[in-house]
Amino acid sequence: MSIETRATLLEQLRTGSTPLAWEEFFRLYWPVIHAYARWRGCSENTAEDVVQDVLVKIFEQRDVFTYDPARGRFRDWLGAVVRNRVAEIRRSPSERMRAGGGDDVAAAAAIDEGPGPADRWEAAFESAVLMALLDVVRREADPREYLAFELTTLAEASPADAAAVTGLSRNVVYKARRRILKRLKDLAGDYDAEGRLPERVREAIRMRPAPRTERGLTRRVRETMRGA
């Protein structure tokens, strides 16, 4: 997704708050927030709470938030919001108990002393951008051909297996894989500077939470938006 597209989306969020804009926003940023919260030692329950709380907070502050198109400004602001929310939860035993326990406070404390949370936030953010790029490619491509690409390039299946699942011929699988990977690289730009894009996308996929978490979060945030 281009910077211009992202700016348009955020401007929509500030002014119109259209449901579609919020859906897109959520789709882009919830994995970042979730991955960071989990890295900071939050349980699955608590991480989901952090996602919901942060998105609601942004929604509530939409009138005062002004997007600056200078690269990284929104990223930094969002990072600060998320780090503050996670810190609040760690300070509040009642919050941890409400979240069902399982928060690894000791691990989070150890992380505080290691290489900065800011670096980890950056890594989580980069993962989310790669997932957003993959999402763009997925929506553009024919479903069978996208699945052939995903199975061979990201799941490392054989072309024969991908052909069997998709019903495509092996030749078409090969062509689809090349074409879609090229499209992904074109969109990724600087993210492919080291030529490791498929590997980095695979790493980003591994950071995604389980499908049931994704469904649960999608539902919770939609309900929150309806009630906000």
């Binding site: 479903p143 996208y146 699945l147 998709t166 994704e214 469904r215």
Partner: protein, 394 residues
């Protein structure tokens, strides 16, 4: 019946008055109406009642469609949520339905804690097992095929409208039901609507493909066709791979490449599963034989007897498909095949627990000559397909 269910429960004061029923509270909404938990005042039976506000010219068309559906659902498909009554008040159209199971798996009761068990709720726990995917895909497509065969279109197929009643999936929420035709308006849930915007039988097929995709992967429909973490398991399992191909054929963005109806999709499902379907309940693959040897010694007479009991026929599940028409009643040895809930099996279908022996198979469809498939050994054949000759008029 529990006394508690006969006591007048607390009611929501905003509930409109519906003849013979006390509305207790809302348990769902969608399709321009709300679903209420209700109790039949005379019998104490808990029911679900969908209320559709009467607004403009659409209301009478909905009533007509629902009345047709009421008659159709009773007779045609065990996997459409039964409609017991369709009616109207000054302010609302309403129809009375079975309640879904409670989310705990228990039978539904009109208590404060009741929450309907839907496929949407089930998916919040993760993807379904392979056996569940196949069973519920068959049930969903059977219900939709029945509607399409009757010339109707659902227009709002999604997990929230798939209920579990007795652990069986039933398609519900008929608020957007309409007659199939060229000018059907674009209504429904955005995620499940095809990009071409035409809300016809192929649109129902598109949505059904996404629902089956969600069952398979546990992912939300808008992640289609990504397989997520279940990709390795799907690659290894021919049945799951087959279901993925089915979804790709159904939820194709290009309308003309989709199955034209749920009946066609259901037949494709059986084709996909037939070579390597997973073992189904009751199908052990072995003949069971038991025999007893009794040796009797009495009064100097030695008697030995070998009592060989005839091997009991194992029972198997058999699929029946007809073309080009569906909804034919399956007859086995001259008797119609009847499901445990008393409804007739209609093609395409899978009849469970059929004796694995030579059986006379016929298909009967109103307006057509009987299709006699002859005597078929069901121990050897688990999928029976038959066709009416081309040029057959309905």
């Amino acid at each position: 019946m529990e006394d508690a269910e006969r006591r007048a429960p607390e009611t929501d004061e905003a509930a409109p008055a519906i003849p013979d029923f006390t509305l207790i509270r809302k348990i769902g909404s969608g399709g321009f109406g709300a679903v209420w938990l209700a109790i039949n005042r005379a019998t104490g039976q808990p029911r679900a009642i969908k209320l559709l506000p009467r607004r403009g010219a659409g209301a009478s068309r909905e009533l007509t469609s629902l009345t047709r559906l009421e008659a159709h659902a009773r007779q045609k498909s065990p996997h459409l949520l039964p409609i017991h009554h369709v009616g109207e008040t000054e302010s609302h159209l309403f129809y009375v339905m079975d309640l879904a199971d409670d989310v705990t798996g228990e039978a539904p009761t009109a208590t404060a804690g009741y929450q309907p068990a839907t496929l949407e709720r089930r998916l919040q726990e993760g993807e379904l097992t392979p056996e569940e995917c196949i069973r519920h895909a068959r049930q969903l497509l059977g219900a939709l095929a029945s509607l399409h065969q009757a010339g109707m279109v659902h227009r709002d197929v999604k997990p929230a409208n798939c209920l579990f009643v007795g652990s069986e999936l039933k398609l519900a929420d008929f608020g957007l039901l309409t007659d199939a035709g060229p000018d059907i308006s674009r209504l429904g849930t955005e995620t499940y609507m095809p990009p071409d915007g035409r809300m016809d039988t192929r649109a129902d097929v598109y949505a059904a493909g996404l629902v089956i995709y969600e069952m398979l992967t546990g992912l939300p429909a808008d992640r289609f066709p990504s397989l997520g973490p279940r990709a390795p398991e799907i690659l290894r399992d021919p049945a799951l791979s087959g279901l993925v191909r089915l979804c790709l054929g159904a939820s194709c963005p290009r309308r003309e490449e989709r199955f034209s109806s749920a009946g066609e999709m259901a037949a494709a499902l059986e084709e996909v599963l037939e070579p390597s379907g997973p073992p189904r309940p009751g199908s052990t693959g072995k003949r069971i034989a038991s025999f007893t040897i009794a040796v009797l010694l009495a009064g100097g007479i030695a008697v030995s007897a070998l009592l060989l009991f005839r091997p009991a026929h194992e029972r198997v599940d058999v699929s029946f498909i007809t073309a080009p028409y569906h909804d034919a009643v399956v007859y086995l040895d001259g008797e119609p095949a009847v499901s445990p809930d008393g409804t007739l099996y209609r093609t395409p279908c899978t009849v469970e627990g059929v004796p694995a022996r030579p059986t006379r198979v016929e298909f009967r469809l109103e307006g057509h000559p009987t299709l006699d498939a002859g005597s078929i050994d069901l121990a050897e054949s688990r999928q029976i397909k038959a066709s009416w000759p081309s040029g057959e008029d309905r």
